[in-house]
Symmetry: C2
């Protein structure tokens, strides 16, 4: 087992602090080990022993004693809370290098620290976010799918960052089927589930009550579920959204396919704000990230909580182990 590659993310955000916090939490329990692609100089004030390494393969041996850093210098000092467009190319290069290391088999997977989209966009970054960039670097011919996972619940939003009204208008059965297929394949290969069970949420209150509370459940969601079942995928739905995430309902499925951003994110953040992990399904490489942003408002204060990054590192290692097992079988 190798190490994971952790990107620097936005250097004026909390990435450095939570990387140190995650190293503290994980080194005590023997890993998973990670190599941080970042400016070693800027990390030196954070109170953890650092070790500059030349190759990610050195990370596992170093990890117990120090945070292994693949030193990638920033052109300008990173001031907490103040993103500097001049540093954007280094932020982007950190992601690209981590993916290249994973594609080459030199690390087990990629864990990304949060980026500040506005700072990257100003520097000419053409992608709306991490996921689209990763699709370009490590796509597999299907659109990547975002999954959020916390203990006891995994959710996949079929539509993500768009106005709710537009998400409803452009939702199709094919979009639901595609996201569900990618999720199903990932649950098998990446999560080691022999027979993954999907719950597909409805769109309207009570999943439309046979068309009296809206027609999309009957006309868009139900045909998607039928198509999935015809492929042999254990999918149920459209299910009433309000009772889909109760303590009683959650053990009945391995992932909930949700139709819009907040239908997926409200329940998972309501349950577990700090330990949530974002996983990108449908890439050639393993990729997870913490389920929060750059937190510019508290960067540099030492108040940032590394829990979600720790969970992201653990989950990336678990997925990598499942992939190895699946590849060996």
């Amino acid at each position: 087992m190798g190490a994971l590659a952790l990107t620097m993310g936005e250097p004026s955000g909390i990435g450095g602090e939570i990387a140190v916090g995650a190293w503290r939490a994980l080194q005590a329990e023997g890993g998973p080990a990670f190599a941080l692609l970042d400016d070693a100089g800027r990390l030196s004030g954070l109170g953890a022993p650092l070790r500059r390494i030349e190759a990610p393969e050195e990370a596992p041996a170093v990890f117990r004693d120090a945070l292994p850093v693949l030193h990638r210098p920033l052109p300008r000092p990173a001031l907490p809370g103040c993103p500097d467009t001049a540093n954007a190319p280094a932020v982007i290069a950190s992601i690209a290098e981590a993916v290249a290391l994973a594609r080459a088999g030199r690390v087990d997977g990629v864990v990304t620290n949060p980026i500040q989209k506005s700072a990257l966009t100003a520097a000419g970054f053409p992608h709306p976010g991490h996921t689209e960039f990763l699709a370009e670097l490590a796509g597999t011919g299907v659109p990547p799918v975002m999954m959020l996972a916390c203990p006891g619940l995994r959710v996949v939003p079929v539509t993500v960052h768009e106005p709710l009204r537009r998400a409803i208008a452009r939702l199709t059965s094919a979009m639901i089927v595609q996201a569900a297929r990618t999720t199903h394949a990932a649950l098998a290969r990446d999560f080691g589930l022999a027979a993954p069970r999907l719950a597909v949420a409805g769109l309207n209150p009570h999943a439309g009550e046979d068309g009296t509370l809206g027609t999309e459940d009957r006309d868009v969601v139900a045909p998607a579920v039928a198509a999935l079942r015809a492929e042999g995928i254990a999918a149920r739905g459209p299910l009433p959204p309000d009772t889909l995430f109760t303590a009683r309902a959650r053990p009945g499925y391995d992932a909930a396919i949700c139709l819009y951003h907040d239908q997926a994110l409200i329940p998972i953040k309501t349950l577990d704000m700090d330990g949530g992990v974002n996983v990108t399904l449908g890439l050639s490489v393993v990729r997870t990230s913490p389920d929060h942003g750059t937190a510019l408002d508290i960067a540099g204060t030492g108040r940032a909580d590394p829990s979600s990054l720790v969970a992201a590192l653990r989950l990336a290692a678990e997925i990598a182990a499942h992939r190895r097992k699946a590849a060996a079988a």
Copy 2:
């Protein structure tokens, strides 16, 4: 302190069973006492001692030893799981009588068992649900507002049982302001809060990110919040919906004003499926109900959980006590 009036609800559903279960739970702790308006004959097989009373004022004295019943005979036997339209007039009369008792000051409030809308509609009941009927019986000139409450969270959906697409299309600032005003007044009078704090949810992902993810947050929700603040109501918003219900966010407000059914119901049911209570705000009488339906599928099996009804009875008594205190002040 008097008793509460509990309606029979759909007699082929779980109403009778959970009424018995609630009596068991509450008689041991000394109340709150309630009088059940129901057919005493059909309740006799449920294993609790019954006492027919002639007036609700007798209920508190009886409650410790037996479940007090205001006997209202059904024309036809109630078969579990099989609603009979012939019994609908008795179901409706039970609600009307409970409200009349409350309006006359003879009970402290009304708690309603779930009804089966289809059975009542077939009998000519012209209302879409309980709430509209209650508004006719005990309205105060403003539209009644539905609040769902569980320990640590209260939510109010501004739109309720309608297609999501239509709810978005017809949402106005005035609707948000009206629901928030009624909520604010009820938090003061019915919940005893000196300075109620409202959190108003956004509609779009991240509350629209300044219009880049949808315009309703800026054009509809923000003006409503401004109008509420101008009236002296402590309202904040539009707030990103996905982080509004986290453990960290919940203590920051006394009620969340939500824009559509599932935005309100997903978080509260995710947190607490069994102890949720439905409260109708803006009526002249106190009214609560359990946060579930008639459960025809398990009626008669003894598996129904009375927790939500117990919570509804307790909350109705608390609201009545706050109203008495406010009236005496």
